[in-house]
């Protein structure tokens, strides 16, 4: 009998036979990481290293100058950076909380409740997975204007709550909860809402974590809402502040500060993803469209 040589997917240990995979993966990862490493180095470069020619990739004498410069600049514009930061954090928390509740309720209904029109609704939502917001930016503006949301705090929140991908992932995840669990809860006299709250929600934590990340990314990185719908400086977000700063400057001297700004935007995304990584992967296992 020939030697059994099925590929071991997800091998448990390193082996020399894995070298071809690493030989392809590592150069690609270097390319992917290059701009990130560059941003980190740039953020810590002192002024003379930023001006250096030929430009050097790695920082020689790291300094926090650019960080203090960024926060010093803020003081001059009238509104402290902490106000933008506070807005962003508050908006992000509200959106994450509300979108998880709204999508998980809808996901429960679409997954476990029986009613007319369910199949059609699922199809509509699957179609909406393809929805690209920027394509309909102008009608979107008209709707927001009609609702009277312009220049209010709520414009940051309400339009961000409908997330077809979030609902889809939650629904898929709820699908694999055995119906017997729900039946058992019903026998005990639990209402549908109680089942949703005490049975379903605790079991779909991984999917909830994934929706949190997606909501976080959508809101934390969003500078467009502030620039399109908000006039009052005190209602604008941190992303807007950094973005206007990034696009507003082009001189080499300010590149260090731009790098700091970009880094501040990136790091929270990265930290949250690393913390919730295993939960996200767990959710993605159920992401298939049949």
């Amino acid at each position: 009998m020939a030697k059994f040589h099925a590929t071991k997917i997800n091998p448990s240990r390193f082996s020399i036979r894995q070298w071809p995979f690493f030989a392809i993966l590592i150069p690609i990862c270097l390319f992917m990481a290059l701009p990130i490493v560059y941003i980190i180095n740039h953020a810590f470069k002192p002024f003379d290293e930023l001006m250096e020619f030929p430009p050097r990739f790695f920082v020689k004498n790291p300094t926090l100058e650019n960080f203090t410069d960024l926060f010093y600049l803020t003081d001059e514009s009238g509104i402290p950076v902490s106000k933008y930061l506070f807005n962003s954090i508050l908006i992000t928390i509200i959106v994450i909380f509300c979108s998880v509740i709204i999508s998980s309720m809808a996901g429960y209904a679409l997954s476990k409740l029986k009613f007319k029109g369910k199949k059609q609704l699922l199809e509509v939502n699957n179609l909406a997975l393809m929805f690209v917001g920027v394509a309909v930016a102008i009608p979107h503006y008209l709707v927001i204007e009609f609702l009277g949301l312009i220049d209010t705090f709520w414009v940051h929140i309400i339009p961000a709550l409908a997330m077809p991908v979030g609902l889809f992932l939650l629904k898929q995840f709820i699908d694999q909860i055995p119906n017997e669990l729900i039946e058992a809860a019903k026998m005990d006299g639990a209402s549908e809402f109680k089942i949703y709250w005490t049975v379903i929600l605790p079991l779909v934590k991984p999917a909830i974590a994934t929706v949190c990340i997606m909501a976080f990314q959508a809101v934390w990185n969003n500078a467009d809402t502030s620039s399109t719908f908000i006039d009052r400086e005190s209602l604008k977000t941190f992303a807007y502040y950094l973005n206007s700063f990034i696009t507003g400057t082009n001189t080499v001297a300010s590149q260090g500060i731009v790098a700091v700004a970009t880094l501040i935007m990136l790091v929270p995304n990265l930290v949250i993803f690393i913390i919730l990584q295993s939960k996200v992967m767990n959710t993605m296992a159920h992401s298939g469209i049949k």
């Binding site: 997917i9 690609i28 809808a106 102008i138 009608p139 049949k290």
Partner: protein, 309 residues
């Protein structure tokens, strides 16, 4: 006896009605937001695309004139915007998609420790939107000697004068494609990675006993068929993220329209008409064309994945 059945039936109907009501209560918040911010904007785009509308006077129905205008009289659209968009979409979409499958497959062949670190590195660029990261690439491709690429080429003696990468039409679109690919390993990539990792090991073992010979057969006969649903999800995410980041040309070059329209895509053309020329009818027609392109692309992928069943 008969009466009892009828009664039972009426009660049954009542309980169905109650169930439907509960379901709709659960759905209500999502459905309301979904209609307001997805259905109505799309519907508005479709209806406005058949009108002339300048945001001041009321929309005026003018049939297919906007579409006819775009296809016949808007020189920029036919000469630059549409070809650019198709070129960008047809390269970034499929290449990004295949690349994320390939990377996910490679990652599945290495131990978990290495995989997690490498996966995070690959996924990181997609964390911030392409537009926000454009600033990094702007410095790397900067047109003076301080630009990193220019400095490297300079040192290697390939060029004497720095190349204006982001201002020259022949370089802008390729650079956009590179930047977009760099940032395209997002949620679809994660879905495919997890799809591959969840394939039942015994499928492979059985196939090798049945005479499967190599990795290529393995990919085509086991891996792809076993994770087709994830492949479909990944494809849709690839298409959406391709179109969602289509604005980077403007972010990279710093102007809309981009130099000689080299990096202008439909998304930029929409804001050109909508925000600069106040011609909402044409902007809406462009939106509809863009949505149709996205829909068509996903249909093609769907057909392609179904054929292998």
């Amino acid at each position: 006896m008969a009466k009892k059945v009828v009664l039972f039936n009426a009660e049954y109907k009542k309980s169905i009605r109650k169930k439907t009501l509960t379901a709709w209560l659960f759905l209500l918040p999502y459905a309301a937001l979904f209609i307001l911010f997805i259905v109505i904007p799309v519907g508005l785009a479709i209806s406005l695309s058949f009108t002339k509308y300048d945001m001041i006077s009321l929309p005026n129905f003018n049939g297919f004139n906007n579409y006819i205008y775009l296809l016949t009289s808007d020189e920029e659209f036919m000469k630059y915007i549409l070809p650019n968009t198709l070129k960008y979409a047809l390269i970034v979409g499929p290449v990004g998609y295949l690349l994320s499958f390939f990377l996910a497959w490679l990652l599945a062949q290495v131990p978990a420790k290495a995989r997690n670190i490498l996966a995070i590195i690959i996924y990181t660029p997609s964390l911030t939107s392409g537009v926000a990261m454009a600033v990094v690439w702007r410095i790397i491709f900067s047109g003076d000697k301080k630009g990193y690429i220019n400095a490297v080429l300079f040192r290697m003696g390939i060029i004497i004068e720095p190349i204006q990468f982001l201002q020259s039409p022949q370089y802008l679109l390729p650079i956009m494609i590179i930047v977009a690919l760099w940032g395209s390993m997002g949620i679809g990539f994660l879905a495919m990675l997890s799809g591959i990792l969840n394939i039942d090991q015994s499928l492979y073992e059985a196939a090798y006993i049945d005479g499967m010979k190599n990795k290529f057969q393995e990919i085509f006969y086991i891996t792809i068929p076993a994770m087709k649903p994830q492949m479909m999800f990944g494809a849709i995410m690839a298409i959406v993220s391709t179109m969602g980041t289509a604005g980077i040309g403007v972010a990279l070059s710093g102007s809309n329209p981009t130099p000689q329209f080299a990096g202008s895509l439909i998304v930029n053309h929409i804001s050109d008409y909508g925000q600069l020329r106040y011609d909402m009818g044409i902007a809406a027609a462009l939106s509809v064309i863009l949505l149709l392109i996205i829909y068509a692309m996903s249909k093609v992928v769907g057909r392609f994945l179904k054929e292998r069943d």
